[in-house]
Amino acid sequence: MASILETNSVTKKFGGFTAVDNVSLSVNPGEVRFIIGPNGAGKSTFFKLVIGFHTPNSGSIKYKDQNIEKLKLHERINLGMGVKFQAPSVFSELTVLENLSLANNRNNSLNVNDLLNDFDLISEKNNLAGDLSHGKKQWLDIALSTISKPDLVFLDEPTAGLSVDETKITGEIVKNLNKQGITFIVVGHDMDFVKQTATKVSVLHLGKMFIEGSIEKVLSDKGVNDIYLGLS
């Protein structure tokens, strides 16, 4: 199966520091791929490389066989991607409905009320997004990044600041969207969320790809446990 996103020996340096070192990754359509690793592993820099906030010093990034490493964020989005940043990124001065209508630039046949129900936002549809709770802001943000039915969505720490129950609901939302055909690449820390949602996991360590595979394979790896316990 042809991969939907492929990075080939991608490297990013900041002065003398190599934040992402020769990372190759291939994500197939239909996956919920998690990128995990301890602090300083290079997850955020890698995320910024694939969404277009950074340009790699070397290597290539391909989306559906098209090189995208020189494209700006909005150009990547218009190819059929979606992005959700770590902090809830909603237009706080606009209502929930206005936020959704602004983001819905491709999917004209969408039933907004169904979508609001899916994200538990129906009762707040006319409220200012800035007045929502943190959890609902995160869900609105996921709704904004997926409303146009992109083929591939990047999520950066989508459960940051959420309670256990809210994290479970977020997992169900992601799984439901995945069933509808959206491939996800998720940067995350929360292992319960990873276990609930991931179809495959890639572990970064010191900027390099450490191990890839199923959640069971990764969690049973002694090296991964050592990394998370700070033993290597």
Binding site: K72, H74, I77, N78, G82, F85, V90, F91, L94, L102
Partner: protein
Amino acid sequence: MVFLFNIFYQFGDSLAFLLLAAIGLAVIFGMMKIINLAHGEFITVGAYGTVVSGKVFNLPLPIAMAFGVVITIIFGLILEKLIIRYLYGRPLDSVVATWGISLIVSQSFLVIFGPSYEGLQTPMGNFQLGEFSYSEYRIFLIFIALIILFLLYYLFMKTSFGTLARATIENPSISSSMGVDVKNVYTITFAIGAGLAGVTGALYAPTMTIVPSIGQAFIVSAFITVVTAGASPFVGLVPAAAFLGTVQTSVTFFYKSTIGLIAILCAVILIIRYLPKGFSGLILKTRSK
């Protein structure tokens, strides 16, 4: 009756001046947060564009005015591409840069057109009420100011472009993540602001002496009206202009115009002190209760 009409006329004239002075700046400063000290020069470009095209090509006044507005939009687009787009999110730097632009433009007009330029005749006529004579064109300006403001409110508050522009200016990163070309939205919004300043210059060109510093007559009124209007300028502009116009008209009526100007500056200080979010903040707070 004549007394009341006289008060209404003075008030309306003041209201129209404050609104028209402020509309372009409401977009560029009120929305985009560019402290545009060259706003007066945008108005100057609109005024000269109207007068020079009217005189040189012998155009009818409405066509000459349209020409003046188009010239100002082009002028604004060039400035945005060359300078302003590097100043978004840098309000203090924008003060220095736009002040420099203001000096260059006004001195260029002085070099090219000399210390004054032959103006156009004020259109329409006058009518007599009691012992006073009133300009019909000044009455026309009151209605035009209100119509333009309504259209502006509709454009930025009720259309999808307006929502997009407000959203992009609030948070360009999120807009970009929705596939919006942020630079284009900024450029179009700035061009609208420049065009509105051009409209002001074009409308007032037949009523004023055409000198390179013509825009300076508007700049103070523009800033105090937009600041008094507050964070949501299209909501607060009419009450702000009405309040300032009332203060100016009533004080000027009993004293003289210099005292009237001092009075509105004092009024603005009080507004900033007691209504830091301006009239729009007060209106939105009242609505949400």
